[in-house]
Amino acid sequence: MPIYDQRYRRYEARNPLRELRFWPITREALKLVVARRAFLLLLVAAWIQFVARTIQVYVVTRFPDAGRVLPVDGRLFGEFLSGQLGFALLVSVFGGAGLIANDLRTGAILVYLSRPLTRVDYILGKLAALMSLNLFVTLAPALMLWIVAVSLAPEQFASLKLMWLPLAIVLHSLVISLAMGLMALAVSSLSKSARVAGLAFAGLFIGLEIARGVLRGMFRTPETGLISLQGNLHALGNALFGIQHRFFNQPWPLAALALVVMAALCLWVLRARVRAVEVVQ
């Protein structure tokens, strides 16, 4: 019977890890989500506002008097992105809730992490998938709307004064997608059921917003909005697009800080929960 060498042997990886290792995870996640017909319908429904706003821009460019009721300027895009937040929530619940929860339930996470992938790659892959979906309902229609607006009213939207608009659209869409994506993934990692994770994320998102409403009623200060993810995203959008809002009027630097804290919290949860092995007490 052969007796094998029992001493410690240093492992030397034969090949360096690939660049963009997270991409296959993103691709697979997107494939799975987009394969559902109901999800595609949701993605299509998310463009309804785009159609409505296009009509608004068209009407105002043809009949300038209508602009007094439905003003068309830089604020239009901020309001548009605020309106898309509801779809970002639905997309994150539908598409994001199961991204980690399903892997935890089926043990697929072990399969992922037994490949030449790090936990960071895994999280990046999932986040990229969810961000892509969110960008599809925020950045894509908002940029398209800007192109439509520039085409219909070049004298207004192609002016130097409004050249910051595409940049603001990209920035705000990225912030929305990143914040929603991180929070949805963090909640997804806390459950093995996509349904429970989806409901928990929606509960958290809506719960924090109603808590903001109650706190505002109690303290009557704009800073109460800092506890709400939705409130902070609105506040940042309002600052970027120059919108004066009655309720989401917390100072934007504080809103940005609150979003950074929330993101850090989500990353901490993900770091603790995304593991190949779960110990049962």
């Binding site: 109901a38 949701l42 509801g86 929530l89 639905l90 619940v93 539908f94 809730a97 806390l190 459950s191 059921s193 349904r195 429970v196 989806g198 409901l199 928990a200 929606a202 509960g203 958290l204 809506i206 719960g207 109603i210 808590a211 409403g213 109650v214 706190l215 009623g217 109690m218 303290f219 309720f247």
Partner: protein
């Protein structure tokens, strides 16, 4: 009828079976991570009220009963309770199907009605346990902002709020139980119902009558300032009618859920 069939004893009595299912479901619900999330949501106003008492300048604060009314009407009845119902009630059967434990329940000599009722009772007890103490604590923390004098006058309001909260949990719970057995993925339709359909309550005409929230808010006396269309159109419906409608929603929701649950082959969903 064969000799074998004649010899079969009757199913386990309804109440006994429902009680056994209730005990298990309660154990599962109370100690689940899901309940922790919901406890956070349903007890958040207590934390906010404590914070308010600690931090706020009480001299310039609004009247305690108004703040309490805001918490009950805006937080609990309009948002948190429907969300809690969506969270728990859609999962009553879906959790068993998803976890594949439904097979154990359906291979015992018990009627499906007893399984559904046992689970619904566990939902009601769990959500009431998480909600009612929160409302009571908020009442005392907020109404006594400027001392205990006059508090007794508002106690009937508190009792009414507790009863309305219970009724709302039953009505929403029955609706979402129905949704949970009807659909394989009830989350998105449930959310769309809550944030979309229920907004009809803030529109004029007969539209509020088609929502649950309009009937629920008609039963309480608090009318806090709203942030949206409700400010313009908030409709109050007759209280007696509201009780009848909410009870009817509960009964019809559960009956519909039973109708589907009793016929459905859950193995196919696995």
């Amino acid at each position: 009828m064969s000799a074998d069939e004649k010899a079969l004893p009757p199913p386990v009595p309804f109440l006994r079976a429902a009680r056994a299912v209730f005990d298990l479901s309660l154990e599962e619900m109370v100690w689940s991570r899901k309940s922790l999330v919901m406890a956070g949501l349903l007890l958040m106003p207590v934390a906010l009220a404590v914070l308010f008492r600690l931090v706020a300048n009480l001299k310039h604060a609004p009247a305690g009963i108004d703040l309490y009314g805001l918490v009950v009407a805006m937080y609990y009845l309009r948002n948190a309770l429907p969300l809690a119902a969506l969270f728990f009630a859609t999962a009553l059967i879906a959790d068993e199907v998803e976890g594949r434990t439904i097979t154990y329940l359906l291979s015992r000599p018990v009627s499906r009605a007893s399984i559904l009722c046992g689970k619904f009772a566990a939902y009601v007890v769990t959500t009431l346990t998480l909600t009612l103490p929160g409302i009571v604590v908020c009442f005392f923390l907020l109404v006594t902002l400027r001392g205990f004098s006059g508090v007794a006058a508002f106690v009937p309001d508190l009792l009414r709020d507790l009863a309305v909260a219970a009724l709302a949990l039953c009505a929403y719970g029955a609706l979402f139980t129905l949704l949970g057995v009807l659909l394989k993925r009830p989350t998105i339709p449930g959310l769309v119902f809550l944030v979309g359909w229920e907004s009809l309550a803030n529109l004029p005409g007969w539209l509020p009558r088609y929502t649950v929230t309009a009937w629920v808010r008609s039963l309480i006396s608090h009318r806090p300032v709203d942030e949206g269309l409700a400010e313009l159109f908030q409709t109050t419906l007759p209280a007696g009618e509201a009780v009848v409608v909410l009870v009817a929603i509960t009964i019809l929701g559960l009956a519909g859920a039973y109708g589907i649950f009793s016929r459905r082959q859950f193995v196919l969903d696995q």
